[in-house]
Every structure is written in structure tokens, then in C-alpha cells.
Assembly symmetry: C2
Homo-oligomer: 295 residues x 2
């Protein structure tokens, strides 16, 4: 697989993904709620989580319809978390993906409701009347619920909130980021894998891959927060530093953070090599893209 | 079934329910998140939705373990919606179930996160590793997701937000309340019914029962908002009137609203009578309790 093939796969996958997601997020939900939901989730973002679901499913030869639904579900969870995170009582941010944040565009109440409805919609799209075997629906709901809740994303955000201005050691920082970002990225990989038959070894390896990639993503996020400007990021740069939030850069320094990102990329690739799966090239290149990205 | 037997069933059911819920909502979720979640959902509330799930499941002879999990899930959704509803950007209420609202006690950010985590936990408790057949897990997740989202509760709240100070006809008011409150009450009945074998006729009748009961609940809520004081309600009375929100009382007048509540009770009981189910007495008495309650 060369870079051109990978780029083609990404472009094709994203075109299909955006079309399916567009069809699933209702424009006609009452009283402007649908517009706010669509604003928050359509037409923006790197779509890393959906690509992980789709690549992971393809690697195990799984149910492509189920994987596409899972890709939409995990992106809905991610997007709702950004809407709530950006609100004044949380990070109070006005810029996201180069656009005004949802509460700036629609008001705080509608933004909170849109986030709430997006979380419900995530589980709705995982449980269609047909196309996904009920046992797989249940498995996907379980994986998503656990990664989104108190043991995952929401728990990580609570630690994040409580840690502003406090020195954290690397171990606590890692736990916060594992929950806040890593668990949902890892769940994306595991949801894709659940869509097909995967050996215990393959499942374990994909889980290790997802864990390393999830942490790498956050380390790189912390690096970009201090090395890039807002125009490139599409969100407010220097935000964590200004808020006196502990980051990998503040705890380790920039050079050590960069070295850690490379080490985690190597761990992710080593996990794929140990999986026994025939073709993990897309997953490997996704790990590269996470570490090499500039926004 | 006399009133004493019913009271005994309610007391026994609630004792079991509170114990299970207590075990499912984590106290040790990070950075105070677990405390906020427990504050919001434990030790308060009428628990009408759980009782509907349990009574409906018993009526069809269903899986009691699954029904107890479903009862917890639906109460978590209800409780999270109250937490978010009470926040300053929504109803800005400081009193709930006779206690300070969650954001007053824990801050807005933690309250929003607790609500988010409670919604995720609802789907988590529906998808345990054992005790509920995967097909039933999927069915319960589907029913809950649809009733909580844009077509249900969240959509109703969006209409509610948009309708402050505007005259609504009874038809629009009914649609708002059906979504905001009715759909989740109806889903409680349907989730209980899904836990066992139910004929098409029984399922249809229980759905009709749930729809009538759901609407009756809201009509009575609107009546109590103007006839009771805050101490009896455990929440701020006269709130809807003060906010110039359309209610059944403002649209129909108090006497007609009371007559409507009685009519809906009769419809609920008629649906039970048409169900072909052997013993629907608990469901019938729950409908009575909804209409006759004073808080």
C-alpha cells in the first residue's frame, strides 16, 4: 500500500461516511434542535474515529453496514462532547473547526440539548430495525456506552476540570487523557473489530493498537497546542497553556513529548504486526497520520 | 388486588430498585463525578418510570433481572434530563425533590458532565455481560435511545424552550408534552413488556396505556403547578405560570384540565382491559396514582 492508495481509501471512505451521517442526523427535529445537531456534527472534523472504525472492520472482514453505523455513532459521541466542552461553564471556547462553537451559534440551552440528543442518537443509529444482528447491536452499544461514560470520556473530563492549575505527575496525566480521549479512540477500533470475526490474538492486538494510538493523539494535541496557531488548528491555540492546564508538554517538555509520540506510534505498529491479521496497512497509516498531523 | 397489596408491592419493588440502582451508580468515578451522579439519581423521586417497567414486565411474565436493569436505565435518563433542565441556561431552577439542584450543589460544569455520564450509564446498564439475552439488550437500547432523543424527550424540551411566552394550541401543546414526558413514560411500559413474551394485541394495548398515562402525567403536573405550593411539590411551584409557559391549565382552564386527566385515566384503563393480559392491576393502580397524586 503506498500513500496514494491510502489517500484514495480515506477520500472514498469519508465521502461515504458523510453521506450516511447526513442521512442519519435529522434536519427536521423540532424547534431548531435538528439544525443545531447538524451544525455540530456535519461537514467538519478530521473524522479520525470513523476512519478507525471502518479500517478496523475492513481488516477483520466485518459487516460494512454495521461499521458505517458504528462510525456515525462514535462521531456523534465525539461531536456532542465537543459541544458540551466548549460551553461557558466548561472551556468557554468560541471557535471550533474554524466556525463559531455551537452555543455561540444557537445559544447555550439549544447547544446543551443538541449534545444530549446527539448522545441518544448515537445509540439509536446502533440499533436499527435491520442490517445489524441484535447481538452485534448489543456489543456495539456496550462498547460505546462504556467509553463515553464515567469510566471513559466523561470521567476524563471531570479529571480535566479538577486539574486546572494543579501540577499532575505523568501517571495522573496519562490516566486523564486515556479516559478523556484515548478510550473513545480505542473503542472506535474495537467497534470496528466487533463487526467481524476476530481471533482473541487479533482482538488483543487491536486493543493495544487503539490504546497506543489514543495516547499518541493526545500527546500530539498537546504539542500542537503550543507549536501551531489558531488558524491552522481551527480552534483556539495556546488554550491549555493559558488555562494553566497540565499537558504532556508542560509535564515532560517539548522534546520528550515528541519522543513519546514517536514511541507510541512504534507501539501501535508493533501491536498490528503481532495481530496475525493479513492486512493492517490502513490502520498503520492512520497511526502515522495521527503522529504526523499539523492540526 | 386491594390498595394494601398494591402499596406493599410498591414498597417492595422500590426497596429492591433502590438497592440495585445504588450498586450501579459509581461512587468512585473520578474527581467528584460519581458523587454528583449519585446525588442526582439516588434517594429521591417518585420512581414512577421504574415502577412502570417492573409492573409491565411482571404482567407479561418477563425477565425480572432485565426489567430491573431497564428500570434503572430509564430512571437514569429521567434524572439526567432533570439535571440539565434545571441548569441556568435552561429553567434555572434551584430546588428539586426538596434539595438544591445538582448544579447548585456541584457547580454547572460538574452537573453537565454528571448528566452526560448518566445518559451513557443508562445504556451501559442495559448491556451487561450476562443476565440479558443480546437481542433483548438491543431492543431495550433501541426503545430507550428513541424515547430520549430528538424524536422524544430532547425534542420536547426544544419545543418547550421555543414556546416560552407564545400561545400554543392544544394540539401543539400535546405534541410537546408527548415528546417531553409522555414518550419516556410510554417507553418505560414498552421496555417492561419487551422483557417477556407479549402478543401483538398486548403490546399494542400496553403502548396505548403508556401513551394515555404519559399525557395524563403532564396534565396533572400542570394542574399541580398552579394548585400546590413548593413545599408539597419539592420543587418551585408556579414556575410555568411565572415563565409564561403554555400549560394545559393556561390553554384549557383548570376544570377542563381536570376532566382531561380523568378521561386519560379511563383511556389507560380501557387499554389494559383490551390487552388480553391476565393481571394488569398494578398498571391500573399506577394510572390511578398518576391522576390522584398531590405532588
Amino acid at each position: 500500500m503506498d500513500a496514494k492508495d491510502f489517500d484514495h481509501w480515506v477520500a472514498t471512505s469519508l465521502t461515504a461516511f458523510e453521506a450516511v451521517l447526513d442521512g442519519l442526523v435529522p434536519g427536521d427535529a423540532p424547534a431548531g434542535l435538528g439544525e443545531a445537531m447538524r451544525y455540530a456534527v456535519l461537514g467538519g472534523g478530521k473524522r479520525l474515529r470513523p476512519l478507525l472504525v471502518l479500517a478496523s472492520c475492513a481488516t477483520v472482514g466485518g459487516n460494512a453496514f454495521a461499521a458505517m453505523r458504528a462510525a456515525c455513532a462514535v462521531e456523534l459521541i465525539h461531536a456532542y462532547s465537543l459541544v458540551h466542552d466548549d460551553m461557558p461553564c466548561m472551556d468557554d471556547d468560541v471557535l471550533r473547526r474554524g466556525k463559531p462553537t455551537t452555543h455561540v451559534a444557537f445559544g447555550e440551552a439549544q447547544a446543551m440539548l443538541a449534545g444530549d440528543a446527539m448522545q441518544a442518537l448515537a445509540f439509536d443509529v446502533l440499533t436499527p430495525d435491520e442490517g445489524i444482528a441484535p447481538a452485534l447491536q448489543a456489543r456495539l452499544c456496550a462498547l460505546l456506552a462504556r467509553s463515553a461514560g464515567h469510566d471513559g470520556m466523561a470521567g476524563g473530563q471531570a479529571i480535566d476540570l479538577a486539574s486546572v492549575g494543579k501540577p499532575l505527575d505523568e501517571c495522573t496525566l496519562r490516566d486523564m487523557h486515556r479516559r478523556k480521549t484515548g478510550v473513545l479512540l480505542q473503542a472506535s477500533v474495537m467497534m470496528g473489530a466487533a463487526c467481524g470475526p476476530a481471533s482473541a490474538q487479533a482482538t488483543k492486538s487491536l486493543s493495544d493498537y487503539g490504546a497506543a494510538l489514543g495516547l499518541a493523539f493526545q500527546v500530539v494535541d498537546d504539542i500542537l497546542d503550543v507549536t501551531q496557531d489558531s488558524a491552522v488548528l481551527g480552534k483556539t491555540a495556546g488554550k491549555d497553556q493559558d488555562a494553566n492546564k497540565p499537558t504532556y508538554v508542560s509535564v515532560l517538555g517539548l522534546d520528550a513529548a515528541r519522543a513519546l509520540a514517536q514511541q507510541l506510534r512504534a507501539e501501535a505498529r508493533a501491536a498490528l504486526a503481532a495481530s496475525g491479521l493479513a492486512d493492517t496497512s490502513h490502520l498503520g497509516l492512520l497511526a502515522d497520520s495521527v503522529v504526523e498531523r499539523d492540526n
